[in-house]
Amino acid sequence: MTAALDTLIQGILLGGLYALFATGLSLIFGIMRLVNLAHGDLIIFAAFVILAITSALGLDTFIAFLIAVPIMFVLGYALQYVLLNRTLGSDILPPLLVTFGLSIIVQNGLLEGFSADTRRLPIGEIAGISLPLGGGIAVGIMPLLSLVAAILVVVLLNQLFYRTALGRAFRATSDDSETAQLMGIDNNRIYATAMGLAMAVCAVAAFFLGSRATFDPTIGPARLIYAFEAVIIGGLGSLWGTLAGGMVVGIAQTIGARINPEWQILAGHLAFLVVLVLRPRGFFPRAFD
């Protein structure tokens, strides 16, 4: 019983991290129907940005992370405005090809700049601290914080979407970008802002990924798969769904690992396939599309 509960809790905590991987992907797909194949690599890129700030300025990793968030926002805005907006249109192939190319460029750029060594974000003692919940179950502070961060990110983005003029513009552009222009909305700037937000979330994901596991320039695509699975399980266009999707992948992986450590990754993918068979549109699909 305790073991089962422990597995569930650890799975949920892992799910929080996967939800952070997936939220940016979900956000930009929801607003501009862009599938960003470079998303995983951009998370790793963000981790190296944090690492570079830490080592160049000798700052604490957490401070470096806070600096990396606005940097990633600006880079994301520029990436969308200068490059990706040109690929958007009725054809879905150009954005796929361009972001696939971008993925290769980011990976190789990082290999060139930081070598293939595995890294870790130094966060000091907090990495080893855990909170006993009683009954022999304990949760690590950092995994717990990553779950809290995932929930916070989803809550804040939903507040932005449903409470602000910018959020209305996001939703209107997502519904019908041509008519949105008739409201005085410059959809190129809206898309750039959305990508900026997605990249800022990537920095959050990078901080928690890099502080709990090692990373190197080539592991982005594997993170992208978990993110895709979380988005599709949750239902395209719903951020709460993406959070739930992250949980499903996380719990499945933890259960798999408990049965046999070799089955961790496989179990996550199997859970994804089962959801695809039972609920092809995910748990919380948007009512229309």
Binding site: R171, A172, D175, Q181, L182, M183, G184, I185, D186, F288
Partner: protein
Amino acid sequence: MPLLETRDLTASYGDFQALFGISLSLDERETIAIIGANGAGKSTFLKTIAGLLPSPPEAVLFEGEKIGGARAFANVRRGIVLVPEGRRLFPSLSVEENLLIGGYGRSGRWTLPRIYELFPVLSERRALPATTLSGGQQQMCAIGRALMADPRVLLCDEISLGLAPIVVRDIYAVFPVIKAEGTAIVVVEQDIVQALAVADRVYCFQEGRMTLSGRPTELTRDAIHAAYFGV
């Protein structure tokens, strides 16, 4: 100087040319109607002025400024606002949010309370999704949304399409209020009677060309008939 003017305006969808040299003008505070059969190029004309379709800069002038080919959002900020054909309300936004988003790029004299005063039924349904409104209410919402941008030129594309005559009458009943704000209006209509009733001047399009223009009182039924159908 006219408020809005087109000079030899042409428009195409790929290889298909939809407009062949349309020149017309709209004065401040004036309402003009463009009538014509399906496929005459009326909607294309409005879309081109609004900036949804490309055109050479000198083909469209607003207060003498060459704005042809300017993007739609930039034209909204100038005060050229389109009520699109088929209403095109945003389905994931509530009625009130649809109205609010109208004021995203530009706002002014028209506020939410004034829109609700104009269309009280929208006030009752402000929190509901826009898709739950009836056709006539959706059209009111689309007009209200356009007014929120404080238009100097209001372009109305087939606002009577698919609506019962009594509903059409209710909607056109608000035009005097809009005109009283000094807003110039371009109405595209298939309903000739309605168009003649509301307009200071009428233009008739046929297959992308202008076949008739004049004041409603000066145009005979036969002349309109000939210009409309080309027989």
